[in-house]
């Protein structure tokens, strides 16, 4: 058994510190050390994307990263995007357009979609589908997920225009 290491992360704007074995996966560190349970363990095999978080500006599957690798990183999870009192535009639109059924994939979908829209604020439907290819909805509700993301993009762009 190896020694635990001192891990420092900035999660959703807050500095967090804890002891962990290097081999712990980031998803378990978030959920079990920090009680941040928005990112889900879906497949635990790098396929489904339910564990997606934004780490140093990249969408990553937190089941495929050791906590040691993440040490020092800035991380945003679904909890950092919005909350029940102030939903993120993507969350509003997922609600409005029925972009979820069981909801298990939703935190990963929305976290990934937020990064996608940041990089490409005006995606086509095909670009949205390609951009969320690393996120699996086992309910197969892609139609409304794509609709929700496109509607969120429109709303974000309209807000940007109104602000100018």
């Amino acid at each position: 058994m190896t020694d635990k290491m001192h891990v420092k992360l900035k999660v959703n704007g807050e500095n967090r510190e804890f002891l962990a074995e290097p081999r712990e996966l980031l998803i378990y560190a978030l959920r079990e050390h920090l009680n941040i349970t928005g990112p889900h363990v879906g497949c635990d095999t790098s396929h489904c994307g339910a564990c997606t978080v934004t780490l140093n500006g990249k969408s990553v599957k937190s089941c495929t990263m050791f906590v040691a690798q993440a040490n020092g990183a800035e991380i945003t999870t679904i909890e950092g995007l919005g909350n029940p009192a102030a939903l993120h535009v993507l969350q509003e639109n997922f609600r409005e357009h029925h972009g979820l059924q069981c909801g298990f994939c939703t935190p990963g979908m929305i976290t990934r979609a937020a990064k996608l829209l940041e990089e490409n604020p005006n995606p086509t439907e095909a670009e949205v589908r390609f951009g969320i290819a690393g996120n699996i909805c086992r309910c197969t509700g892609y139609q409304n997920i794509v609709k929700s993301i496109l509607a969120a993009a429109d709303e974000m762009n309209a807000a940007k225009e109104a602000a100018q």
Binding site: T2, P22, R23, K61, N71, A133, G134
Partner: protein, 284 residues
Amino acid sequence: MIPAAFDYYRPTKVEDVIALLEEHGDDARVMAGGHSLIPMMKLRMADIPHLIDLQDVSGLGGISIEGGRIKLGAMVTQHELINHDGLAAAAPILRETALQIADPQVRYMGTIGGNVANGDPGNDMPGLMQCLDAQIELIGPGGTRSVAARDYYEAAYMTDRADDEVLISVSFAVPTGGYAYEKQKRKIGDYATAAAAVQINKNGGQIASASIAMTNLSDVPVWSESAGAALVGTGCDANAVKAAAAAMLGDIDPSEDNRGPVAFKRHVAGIILSRAINRAWERA
């Protein structure tokens, strides 16, 4: 899934990486993006007592296009390859290939160096590097050396790289003419059932030169010299494409797995190569 315990290192200098590899020998492995190694460790198919993370090592990143050559640092991610406009203009086949690897999250982490070094026959960049006649640069205790991508692969996961060496870059001449990377896969994110990398140069309505490499159709990538030769001097007519595909089929050696039996893979390989040749010809 929880991997076996390991000691974790995050050196900043390549000399320190080499020193760790010399000290721990077989018990140490370097890790770039980790998207091949971590799943293997989680399945306990790989037990790495000393894990050396390359993320902070200086000098392993960067894309340079200079003097007619392109050099890609080992830690350049697939995401960076896709989004580098200079590279997309100079060697568009890199973007075309990288976009067909895995999914967005994996492409943010997965690196060219890891993809080339690992020796997984399913990886796409090794075949492309053979098509482009790339040189692979390695560093070890005795300094750096360069190996042709066409000589680098020995068997599945077995390459010319010694245990105490690290792949630091790949480089190749700026490609000219038409190009295509065509890949058949069962679903997005999958490894290839068959894939083909093609570069074609055209002169006076005829093919002046052609380079063809195939992915996941043997335990190593296959650069098919005879398939390229079958196209040279032709106008890329249907017979020429058929001859090239027939020549390629003589060089591959696929095995049966969950992507299909051997006969199916050979059938798909022929179709994929024909499509790639036709697309490269249109773009030449």
